[in-house]
Symmetry: D2
Subunit: 377 residues, 4 copies
């Protein structure tokens, strides 16, 4: 099988998520890395791209150059990943979809619900893939839980509890730390801080595992560090389309927690639990039975979980390989195969709409609001 | 030191909490068990009391007999424990306080806020101890966390997250199970199900560790098993007097969780975590440092934690000894010593008032309400 | 039921194990504490006994006085606990058995195999109970595992791995610490350091759960702190009567471990795991199945486990209640009921003989030796 | 930077370790996969190689063809990975080193000590890299522990305890399972079963972290499944050159354990613990301090650990990325940079010699034997 050609925007030297994408795209030999506009500083971007093996003429200074350069090449890239800061996602994603490229966009897909709807329509009209990097959904044990729910192995779902809390912004002196400060500044981050940054992953994960969508919600936001305008701690109660009760807590000041993304799903006949810090196990209790430890790559996993396991049971697989699993499915989709579970523009829109709804609710003392984007009401 | 005389109402054969009280009162040799009205069935109560070594004339058929019998004895009991079903707590506690006995009452102390205020006033006017069995507060590591907060070791507290969730009522057929059914029936359980049963422990624990009180709250209740009237799953957001943000989730349908009472406290300079299923450890992260595992009975614990450890480090101590620690402090108080930390009638009232406030909020779509009893506003 | 009368030798103020015995004997109201010779210092012993409620005439200065005083009283004690330093166990236990008392002796029961055999014979000839405080065997989940093995739920046992390691003697300056120093001094501790102190618990636990006895062994001892004569780290390989392979590691210099007593049992059709720091759970994997978490007090436990649970599932029970369970069975036995599982003088002898065999093997470069006491060969 | 050219022998479709090598070599874009002889069946090997993107003329039927084909190409591969069954490692590795290729050989490097010595000499004389895939040594937290030991952060090491136990061969019917059966058949597996397969990883890991070598050892082997000739459970006691005490247990019948490779290191002033199932944390207790949880990618890690972390703290990284780290260092070495820690032919020889010594000791009832290969005595 020949490799697909891949390009990347953002994710320059020293960026947080860049390495995971490069590893994810190349790990399985599906993509060759051919073009890039990696940095907000054109010179640094070009130099770093070349140090990574990109040919000089495809090591672009910015995304506009890249779009122009790639557009009409016979060997143009098959897929572009957008891993720039949030405010630029819409514009770049739109431009590349428009030009007929497949896009993997980082979360949050857009800043506004309107922009999100536009992307959804554009993806539809162009017939291009627009995936969103909700990479946690690509862990084998998350797929296992999703399949179990779908097959009724825990019965109708009564309640889902999802958290994403860490303590990495607990230091109160944001002024001294520009990498943190912008996140709580509406001018740069938009309407939401931690909900848009981390809570959104938990929102997606809940919907993904449940195979259900958030319908309405009530939120309580707090800016516990006084200088912050946007929330650094938030609680959202929600109801899904099917009536499941949802609880979602997210925080950046949770000292003692490192990467507290975890989820519990409680059904009529069984319960499930998974935590991203120990992603290769999940816990399952059948009504009346004991808690059982399910293991990645154990025999008997549901197909969609089994196919995403790369090495034998209890040989841990981690975050970069979850990202790689996204690329595995992207490659399959680009090659024309069907793949269930790849987070779509619609998923990116729905979760962003729920973040906006949460902001709205929090501003109105937790009033219950519709969490759906207008186009899906 | 001569033993104090102790009596018990409720906690008959097969009851859930009875054994913990008997063990707790006798474990340290502080109390001798002298009088009892253990069962709703007078005959069974008398027989069981005698089988436990109670003299026939003090093995009473009901609490009224017991009150009459004990009142004027020269060797009358020093302390009575009330471990009957919730609806009887007020009446019995009131009668025994009135007659000059010290009382340890099970939670919830009363069914209504008004009754709670009456007990608080009565305890004050009679000068008798009225303690409430918030026994989790007597675990050494809980005391350690409380002392750490009080001494500023985690700085001003920004957020507290307390849960008490289990899956023991996940089976949907309450009709078949009378021990479960009554809990969701307003006629028997009052205004609240799981909040009054378990959430109330988490409420107290949060206040206790913070040394702060719940001021206002917003609640979302759900009866996930359709036949239930009262809530079996609830989320409460709150703010304390000092402005700390609170999150509290409690559930009885959380399959996979056994006894999920846990608490996290996040301050400006440190974070703490403790879970009741592994009560002998607590986790502490200083801002900028690693997570450290604190151990019960380690050297250097704060005094109030150290004094409640009974055996050497890493020799686990459990729930019955937390109850026993309540009796240790009761004995000291009865003997005239001062003891900080014993949950009081005021604590019983405050947490019950917060439960009522949560019911009220939940009925009004999560409106924020005052959580304080009128007498403490 | 009237209480049994109980007395105690050793376990004075500040002692390590004394409090666990007092709590264990009294917790369930089976025994009343009537006589004591608590301290090597007669005055301190008498004073402390009285502070604990012992009548002045039964607060003895030493065990000889106590034996003389109790012997002919009509209300003499029913059971005496011997919780003095190791070298005195034999003499005291012998004297009390001889005088017709039931005895609970701390481990190790004796210093030599010959003494051990003498106690076994004496217990037999007098018909008195001589139990040894292998208290870990009284945890409900240990009983559950024993019952599972006995009922064939894991098939024939292939291998058992038991550890008891901690780091509390890791500080190298024993001279500065008399409580540690004596343990590595042959003049005071006898032939063995850590094997006789902790390894012996693991030895007993393995035999107990397997329902099988150590037959032969090979040992490797080390004194990792240079000034020490006796071992502070030891490894023993063994074979049981039924041919099971055994591995046992014990250490006192294992920094990072607090109370690392744990055991794993591997059978033809299932495996079991339990650790004393989290005693209320055990892990069970059936061949071809998932690991299941077994919980203390879960429904369906084997009888001998279920009867020793005191409070509901996931309400933790700890070390002092394991000791209390020993007293529960002692009370039953004294009252004439049969009880399986109470560690006997024969158990005390066997484990002590195995320690001696390990010493012997270690001195001969790990040569395989018979681990059985002569009387059981 | 241009990519290095990489080839692979063994690791065909459905093989256990093949995918980890392909992922490891390609993940970071250091190597392009150019040539392969993947399968014992030439046709299958050629077809699979092409399906992975290898050009038809470099998709070889066997390693001899590959050697012949690559030897004189101007674009010949820079590195070959040997991931065939154990008995072929020596011959293939030798041939490729001889022809001037760099080699990454799977463990065990050879079947005999003599062969191992030959490889060591050949690597030296040719000046080629011959690395052995002791991939666990490339986990960041393993590197952190190694650096801590080297820098004296736990003082002189007293004792190391390493285990590698699992239950995946617990089913007794090897005859029905050829993938298991050959491992216990001396004709196919050589002198050792589980020690050569898994124990050898633990041996290397201990030496690696300690920066010290096994000098002498005593072993106890068992074939707990009766039909097996070679050991499926083994215990090895050892002493290192510097006098550290070692304990190593390895088993394949440990039902309940999935991938129980873990290691504990106890020094004069600190202790360390790490387990491969949760590879992103390690536990550290300073003498007199609490246990601290060290996290992969936390700030302040030693250089050699920090440089091998790919994503942010608490984003788990797993086994395939440990393998990838081996390739990262191989690429650097091939490009002429120095890299500490890459497991060498000498390491492969030493661990294999220790396995042979263990076999020898086990056959002589655990006699202590020299564990070093003759050339390093
Ligand atoms: N899916 C996940 O789990 C996950 C995790 C982390 C970050 N993210 C998302 O990834 C995105 C990037 O986050 P990050 O943490 O890596 O940020 P970062 O600040 O660490 O790096 C951003 C990179 O983008 C480059 N850049 C900025 N503007 C650019 C432009 N106009 N053109 C080209 N390059 C530009 C910067 O030079 C830098 O290299 C964000 O949208 C974030 O929400 C997702
Ligand atoms: N603090 C805790 O952690 C905790 C735990 C469990 C229960 N509780 C509380 O303890 C109380 C009892 O709960 P339980 O679970 O043991 O209930 P239960 O139903 O198991 O037992 C109640 C006992 O009280 C007896 N009883 C009922 N009415 C009586 C009366 N009028 N006079 C005398 N005896 C009477 C019953 O015969 C029975 O023996 C409740 O208030 C409950 O909320 C507290
Ligand atoms: N079963 C267990 O888990 C466990 C745990 C700890 C200790 N132990 C055993 O308990 C025994 C005591 O250990 P410890 O750690 O409590 O010791 P310790 O040194 O802490 O206390 C010993 C006590 O015995 C008293 N004593 C000494 N000689 C005496 C004598 N001749 N007569 C009366 N009193 C005397 C001392 O004054 C002291 O109060 C030992 O045999 C030990 O092995 C068992
Ligand atoms: N480092 C580790 O953690 C680790 C883990 C697993 C296996 N291994 C080692 O990797 C090696 C392979 O083990 P595995 O479990 O993948 O085995 P496997 O049986 O699953 O696969 C072996 C592969 O090699 C191929 N092969 C066999 N003979 C060949 C030949 N002469 N030429 C070319 N290809 C040939 C087979 O067709 C098959 O594809 C072994 O040496 C094993 O010890 C190491």
């Amino acid at each position: 099988m020949t490799k697909l050609r891949w390009g990347m925007i953002g994710g320059g030297e020293g960026s947080q998520i860049g390495p995971a994408h490069r590893l994810g795209a190349q790990a399985d030999g599906n993509f060759s890395f051919e073009a890039a506009a990696l940095d907000v500083d054109p010179e640094k971007g070009r130099a770093y791209a070349q140090s990574l093996g990109i040919a000089p003429d495809r090591a672009y200074g910015n995304w506009q150059e890249m779009l122009a350069g790639e557009k009409d090449r016979p060997d143009r890239i098959d897929l572009v990943t957008v891993a720039t800061p949030n405010a630029t996602h819409f514009e770049i994603t739109k431009a590349f979809l428009d030009a007929g490229f497949h896009v993997l966009c980082e979360k949050p897909m857009t800043m506004t619900v309107e922009e999100g709807e536009e992307i959804v329509r554009l993806a539809e009209s162009t017939g291009r893939i627009c995936a969103v990097n909700y990479c946690y959904s690509a862990y084998p044990m998350v797929r296992q839980m999703r399949a179990m729910v779908a097959k009724g192995e825990i019965g109708a779902v009564r309640c889902v509890v999802a958290n994403f809390s860490h303590g990495h912004h607990a230091a109160g002196d944001d002024d001294a730390n520009p990498r943190v400060r912008w996140r709580y500044d509406p001018a740069q981050a938009g309407v939401s801080g931690q909900m848009a940054d981390c809570g959104i992953h938990a929102l997606h994960l809940a919907s993904f595992i449940l195979g259900d969508e958030v319908r309405s919600l009530s939120a309580d936001f707090a800016s516990t560090v006084s200088a912050r305008v946007l929330e650094d701690d938030a609680m959202v109660n929600f109801r899904t389309e099917k009536g499941t009760v949802g609880r979602l807590w997210t925080s950046t000041i949770a000292l003692g927690r490192m990467h507290g993304l975890d989820i519990q799903v409680f059904g009529e006949t069984g319960g499930l639990r998974w935590a991203s810090e120990q992603p290769n196990q999940a816990y399952y209790q059948r009504l009346g039975g004991r808690v059982e430890i399910m293991e990645k790559a154990e025999s008997g996993l549901h197909t969609d979980a089994a196919r995403l396991c790369r090495v034998a049971i209890a040989h841990p697989e981690g975050f970069p390989l979850a990202v790689a699993n996204i690329y595995v499915d992207l490659a399959a989709r680009i090659r024309g195969e069907a793949r269930d579970g790849l987070p779509s523009a619609a998923d990116g829109l729905r979760s962003m709409a729920a973040v906006h709804a949460a902001v709205d609710s929090a501003r109105h003392e937790g009033a219950w609001v519709d969490a759906r984007p207008p186009m899906f009401r």
